[in-house]
Symmetry: C2
Subunit: 374 residues, 2 copies
């Protein structure tokens, strides 16, 4: 049996789904791959639960997941504590050769711990977009991780060390595909598509004649949006995904270089969340008109990203109702790769691009891939 020690940052929806999937697949991973995944530590902003040696056992893991689901803290559990200090201290304590550090948080705060992990030659799996969308240098250091070869060369890409599939399109194999095209020397000239389940849901609702304020309100109540829905509606989440794809092509650029058009006017940017929600009906007519004007011409509204010629553009666009993008509905994502070998028809990947289970499955597939890498 190959043992795979794991340290998990983030025990929110995706982190908890991942823990449940690891437990549910334990027998399968042992039987099929000869692999045992040991969760040595779970960490979030309020504390950590750590069990060195063979990691937290399944009874305690499920206890901890349920504790969090009921609104408790890791530190409320007998194995938990609030006094473990910095993530780096936990990594230092728990990590050992072959450790995979998994980041399912949504904060830039993990960057120092990830770089620390990288310097220890630990492998890294990210569902968290923030570390890859802060400074270009951090992207480079994380994705080039383990970069020094025997004779001291630094190589820009080390696919044996870092995976970040779940940062774009949840579990859809978008990053894996991009990396395959790149390694084979194909030239990706353009990527385009929709990368937000939430905005897909909003656009489908508009198309069905629902009011903008009602759709957003409902999505907010159902937890489909970020706590502040502007984090979705402003397009910054899509911009981060576009930036990750652009950087994946080897382009050096920053988040500020992405052109973003959001779905609410600047003057609503500084309201409190309740005030913002209350002001949403003011936008209903604007969107209803937009959708109607498009419909007359056989078109529909989509929130799309285009990555081409060293620029990323993100915002609402009208597309033919009968085009692949126009036919997309609900939380499905779609991405087109236009390249030397995929021209004039692009390579297209389509499917659910949101949801904690699909996202966690993308993280788990990354972890298992890294079990086979040097």
């Amino acid at each position: 049996m190959q043992e795979m020690p794991i340290i998990l940052f983030g025990v929110g929806g995706v982190g908890r789904a991942l823990i449940r999937q690891i437990v549910a697949n334990r027998q399968f991973h042992a039987d099929e791959f000869g692999l045992v995944l040991h969760l040595l530590a779970l960490c979030d902003r309020n504390g950590a639960a750590i069990e060195l040696g063979h990691g937290l056992d399944d009874v305690n893991l499920i206890d901890l997941v349920e504790l969090k689901e009921e609104g408790g803290q890791l530190s409320d559990h007998t194995l938990g504590g609030a006094d473990h200090g910095e993530l780096a201290t936990i990594i230092d304590m728990a990590g050992r050769v072959g450790t995979v550090v998994v980041d399912c948080t949504a904060t830039e705060g993990t960057v120092p711990a990830l770089l620390f992990s990288r310097d220890r030659q630990y492998k890294i799996v990210l569902a968290n977009k923030k570390p890859l969308t802060t400074d270009q240098e951090v992207f480079n250091r994380l994705t080039q991780a383990g970069a020094t070869t025997e004779n001291g060369d630094i190589t820009p890409r080390n696919l044996g060390h870092c995976r970040w599939e779940a940062t774009v399109g949840a579990g859809l194999p978008i990053i894996a595909t991009l990396n395959r095209l790149i390694t084979s020397g194909d030239h990706v000239e353009r990527m385009a598509g929709t990368f937000s389940g939430t905005l897909g849901y909003v656009m489908t609702g508009l198309q069905m004649g629902e009011r903008f304020s009602e759709i957003v309100g409902e999505a907010h109540r159902q937890g489909y949006t970020e706590p502040d829905p502007r984090d979705d509606l402003g397009g910054i989440d899509v911009a981060r995904k576009a930036l990750i794809l652009a950087r994946g092509l080897g382009w050096e650029m920053e988040l500020d270089d992405v052109t973003v058009e959001g779905l609410y006017p600047e003057e609503m940017a500084h309201l409190t969340i309740p005030d913002f929600m209350a002001a949403l009906p003011e936008l209903d007519e604007f969107f209803a008109d937009k959708v109607e004007t498009a419909a007359v011409q056989g078109q529909v509204l989509r929130y799309a990203a285009s990555i081409e010629k060293h620029s990323c553009v993100v915002g609402p666009v009208t597309v033919d109702a009968n085009s692949p993008l126009g036919r997309l509905s609900g939380t499905d994502n779609l991405v087109e790769f236009h390249s030397k070998w995929y021209s004039p028809s692009p390579l297209v990947i389509q499917g659910r691009g949101a949801g904690v289970e699909a996202t966690a499955a993308g993280v788990l597939a990354d972890i298992i891939e890294l079990a086979h890498t040097k």
Copy 2:
């Protein structure tokens, strides 16, 4: 720099495109991945060219490719010979730790050499469907390759050792996606789609009102079909791909278990190739009628495969002209994965599923992935 020794079986269209791509990307692979791919031996049915040590240099590689393109034999080259004997002898002579054996032939004849390579713990990349569609046991041994763990356990899957992306859908990431879904514990309930660029071309031609005999004749002249077009028209090539996908799910089945409906009647099975081509016009009316009947109901004819509930069914089907499959045209392939996390909407991958360059690129991506595995 990491050195990757490669032994290539098959210097036909895909093999030659692969050699050219390796040469063209040499600098890129060195700069970006710190990787050097050494082609130690090229082998085909008539001979081999072998250069131990650092492998064949680029001048000789391109010479050999051009020699083959002009109808010559490897043995005509100063580095070539017809007397190298069995593939196993060449592997024995040229192979060393970390060697990747790449099969771009279209024959079952490589199976003993592949199993020999596997027993030497060499890695294996297949574009050749035959070894994975002969006995289940051969599929298992090749894809479980390197199967023994430290304490002697045999694990059914060893994704660090064998890749076979280009056997289905050329360079499209179909096998990679299937393997990711499986490793993450998703349950794939159904796969469906079109896996033949050639039959896609035929179906698109029929839809545009061309005659069956003319389309097939033109495809044959252009080299889009196998030398005997019945190898495509009979559906056996699609059946092999369906079987590879089904076995990838862990289902144990043989090629005989696949239900196949071909595009020509049994009585044309035993004609010579010229007689078969001459008899094709007899089928024109049959297909014209079929297409017309479908068109009246807004449907089109497609050659599709369905892999579900431990059975594979391959044959012509009528689908809604406005469905994803119905909108597909030319040599594009499309595959849908219906699974626990991709339901009710499937995960869809679409794009060029044929052509030597796209196929070779799929092989090259596999090779580079294996550079990072244990």
